[in-house]
C-alpha cells in the first residue's frame, strides 16, 4: 500500500487585490487523517479550502488533491472530493432525499447505488425517518447531517469541511463530531477541516495553526500543547504589573498578560510553583492582594497565544468583518 499523501500543498498563495489571504502555505495530509486548519476568522482558512476545492484560483504555488493538480485537473479533483460549506447549501424547497438525488445526478452516481448508499448513510446519521420532509423544516443540526451525507454520497476520498459546526449549539456540535468520527471509521475517508473552535481542533489528528495567511505551527494537538511547556498558572491580583516584576526579579520567570485579566505563567510543575509564588509575593509586598490562582493543562488557545501573541477569541470583530466585506466585494466584481 502506498502512503502517498492525499493532499500535497507547496507554497500556495492567494491574493485579493493587495490583500494576501493565503501567504505561501506548505503542508500535506495523509490518507485517513483528520487534518485541521485552526485560526481566527479572516486568517485565510476559507480561501485555502476554496483553492483546494477548485473554487478559487491560486495566485501561485502548487497543490495536488488525490494526485490531481487543482489548476489543471479540476474535474477529477472535484469528482474525488466532498465538500461541506460554511453557509448551508441545501435546496430548502426540496426534501432530504431529493437533495441527495440531485447530488447523485451531478456526480453521475447510478440510481441503484444512490438508493443503497443514501439509506445506509442516512441511517448512520439518524436521519432516515425525516428524509422525505422538505429541508426548510430541518433544524440546523439536521441540515448539517444531511450535508454530510450528501458530501459522502459519491464516495470521495477526501471530505472538506469549512467550519462544519459554525452557528450550532455546543450539544449539537458534539453530536456532529460523533457522527463525523463514526463515518471516518466506517468509510475510511480523509477529512480536511477548518475551525476557529479550540475544542473542535482537539478532534483532529494533526492541526495547522494559521494566522494572517501563514502556518505558524503544525503538529498533533499534544505536540503543539507541548510547546507551551507543562502547566499554565493564571493568577489575578490587584496589581498585575507589580507581581510580574516580582516574578521576574525573584524567580527569573517570564509572565504574560491574560487577555481576560490576570497574569499567565507557564511552568513545568504548577502544583509546586503556586506556593513558591505566594511566598514571593508575600515577602516582596504584603499589600498586594491575590484574588485568585488557577492551574490547568495547556490548551490550543495557549499555543495560539504563544505563537501569535494574540488570543483567537479576542479578535477584533470590525477588522474581521471588514476583511470579509473586502473579499466579498472583490469577488463580486
Amino acid at each position: 500500500m502506498t502512503t502517498r499523501p492525499v493532499i500535497e500543498v507547496e507554497n500556495l498563495m492567494r491574493k485579493f487585490g493587495d490583500l494576501t489571504a493565503v501567504d505561501g502555505v506548505t503542508f500535506h495530509v495523509n490518507p485517513g487523517e483528520v487534518f485541521g486548519f485552526l485560526g481566527p476568522n479572516g486568517a485565510g482558512k476559507t480561501t485555502a479550502i476554496g483553492m483546494l476545492c477548485t473554487l478559487l484560483r491560486p495566485t501561485s504555488g502548487l497543490a495536488l488533491v488525490n494526485g490531481f493538480d487543482i489548476r489543471t485537473d479540476q474535474a477529477r479533483v472535484r469528482q474525488s472530493i466532498g465538500l461541506i460549506f460554511q453557509d448551508p447549501s441545501l435546496d430548502d424547497k426540496l426534501s432530504g432525499r431529493e437533495n441527495l438525488k440531485f447530488h447523485a445526478m451531478l456526480y453521475d452516481v447510478p440510481a441503484d447505488v444512490l438508493v443503497k448508499r443514501s439509506e445506509q448513510l442516512l441511517d448512520m446519521v439518524d436521519l432516515s425517518e425525516r428524509a422525505d420532509e422538505v429541508a426548510m423544516h430541518y433544524s440546523g443540526g439536521m441540515k448539517r447531517r444531511l450535508e454530510i451525507v450528501r458530501g459522502l454520497l459519491h464516495r470521495p476520498s477526501v471530505l472538506f469541511l469549512d467550519e462544519p459546526t459554525l452557528g450550532l449549539d455546543p450539544q449539537t456540535r458534539l453530536h456532529i463530531w460523533e457522527y463525523l468520527l463514526t463515518l471516518r471509521e466506517r468509510e475510511g475517508v480523509t477529512m480536511f477541516m477548518t475551525t476557529h473552535y479550540m475544542e473542535e481542533a482537539e478532534h483532529c489528528d494533526r492541526i495547522a495553526i494559521i494566522d494572517q495567511g501563514k502556518i505558524v505551527g503544525l503538529g498533533t494537538p499534544e505536540a503543539l500543547k507541548g510547546m507551551v511547556g507543562g502547566d499554565v498558572v493564571t493568577v489575578r491580583t490587584d496589581d498585575n504589573d507589580r507581581v510580574a516584576a516580582m516574578m521576574q526579579q525573584s524567580l527569573g520567570i517570564e509572565t504574560r498578560i491574560d487577555p481576560e485579566g490576570g497574569l499567565i505563567i507557564e511552568t513545568s510543575h504548577g502544583d509546586q510553583f503556586i506556593p513558591e509564588m505566594m511566598r514571593v509575593i508575600g515577602e516582596c509586598d504584603e499589600t498586594v492582594h491575590v484574588n485568585s490562582v488557577h492551574l490547568r493543562r495547556p490548551t490550543l488557545e495557549d499555543v495560539f497565544i504563544k505563537l501569535t501573541g494574540r488570543a483567537i477569541r479576542e479578535q477584533d470583530f470590525d477588522k474581521k468583518d471588514d476583511m470579509r466585506k473586502h473579499v466579498r466585494l472583490w469577488r463580486g466584481r
Binding site: 478559487l56 474535474a75 465538500l83 453557509d87 447549501s89 445526478m105 456526480y107 453521475d108 450528501r150 463580486g332
Partner: protein, 265 residues
C-alpha cells in the same frame, strides 16, 4: 464523449431543479396571474374609453395591452430567475453545483434553460386570460406564441445573468432593475403604440431588445381580433425580422453571460 454526456446531465439537473421548484410552488403559480389581472383590468379598463376615442373604435385597449402584459410576465420572470442564480451562487445550492464535476458552461446553460422554461410556464398561464378579453386563439397561434415567448425568455434570462453575475449586492441589482429593466419595458411599446413618438424615443426603442418581443407577440395574438388595416398600423416589422433580432440579442447576451459565470475567481 464521457465529458459531454456528463455535462448534458449536469445542465439537465440544473434545469430540472428549477422546474420541480416551480411546480411545487402553488403560490407562485397563482400570484403570477395577479399582476396581469391588475394591469389588464384596473389600468387597461381605466384607459380603454380614452383610447377608444383616439383609436376610432378599432380596438379595445385591453386587447391591445394583452401582448404587453404577456411580455411583462415573461420579462420579469426571466430576469428574476437570473437573480436567484447569483443569490444561490453566494449562499446556497448553486455553490454545491459549482463544485460538482460539471462544467460551468453547462451549469449556466442549464440555468438559462430553467429560467426560460419557468418564464414560459408563467406566460402560458397568462394566456389563459385571453378568452376573458374576447381574444380567441387557434392552436397554431398558441404554438407560435409559445415559441416567441421561449425566445424572449431566453434572451431576457441571458440578459439577467449578464447583469447579475458580477453584482456584489442586492441593492446594486435593484438599481440596475430600475435603470435598465423598467425603461426597457416602457420603450418596447408594450402599453402604447410606437407610431408617432418623438425621434429619440423611436431610436431608443430600436435598440431595446424587448421591442422585438412585443411586436411579434402582438401581431400573432391579435390576428383575427382587430381589423387587418388597423393591424398594419400597429405592427412594426415582419415576424421574421423580429425573430432574427431576438436571436441575435439572445446570443449577444448569452455568450458573455456564460463566460462571466464560468470564470473562476
Amino acid at each position: 464523449m464521457e465529458n459531454l454526456k456528463r455535462n448534458i446531465k449536469g445542465a439537465y439537473t440544473v434545469w430540472y431543479r428549477d422546474v420541480v421548484r416551480f411546480r411545487r410552488d402553488r403560490m407562485r403559480i397563482v400570484s403570477s396571474l395577479v399582476m396581469p389581472v391588475v394591469y389588464l383590468f384596473l389600468f387597461g379598463s381605466g384607459l380603454a374609453p380614452a383610447m377608444a376615442e383616439m383609436g376610432g373604435g378599432h380596438i379595445d385597449f385591453k386587447q391591445y395591452m394583452f401582448p404587453g402584459v404577456l411580455t411583462m410576465t415573461v420579462l420579469f420572470t426571466s430576469v428574476f430567475s437570473a437573480v436567484s442564480i447569483v443569490w444561490d451562487r453566494e449562499f446556497g445550492f448553486l455553490k454545491e453545483v459549482m463544485v460538482a464535476p460539471v462544467s460551468r458552461v453547462a451549469i449556466a446553460l442549464g440555468k438559462a434553460a430553467g429560467g426560460s422554461t419557468v418564464a414560459l410556464f408563467q406566460g402560458v398561464i397568462v394566456l389563459l386570460l385571453a378568452p376573458v378579453l374576447g381574444i380567441s386563439l387557434t392552436i397554431a397561434q398558441l404554438i407560435t406564441l409559445a415559441g416567441l415567448m421561449v425566445l424572449l425568455a431566453l434572451m431576457m434570462t441571458s440578459l439577467g445573468i449578464l447583469l447579475a453575475v458580477r453584482q456584489p449586492s442586492m441593492e446594486g441589482f435593484h438599481m440596475l432593475m430600475n435603470f435598465v429593466l423598467l425603461p426597457m419595458f416602457f420603450l418596447s411599446g408594450a402599453f402604447f403604440p410606437l407610431r408617432g413618438v418623438p425621434i429619440w424615443m423611436d431610436l431608443l426603442s430600436r435598440v431595446d431588445p424587448v421591442t422585438y418581443g412585443v411586436d411579434p407577440l402582438r401581431q400573432v395574438a391579435l390576428r383575427g381580433v382587430v381589423p387587418v388595416q388597423f393591424m398594419d398600423v400597429i405592427a412594426l416589422r415582419p415576424l421574421t425580422v423580429n425573430v432574427i433580432m431576438m436571436a441575435i440579442f439572445a446570443v449577444l447576451f448569452l455568450v458573455p453571460a456564460v463566460w462571466l459565470f464560468g470564470r473562476q475567481d
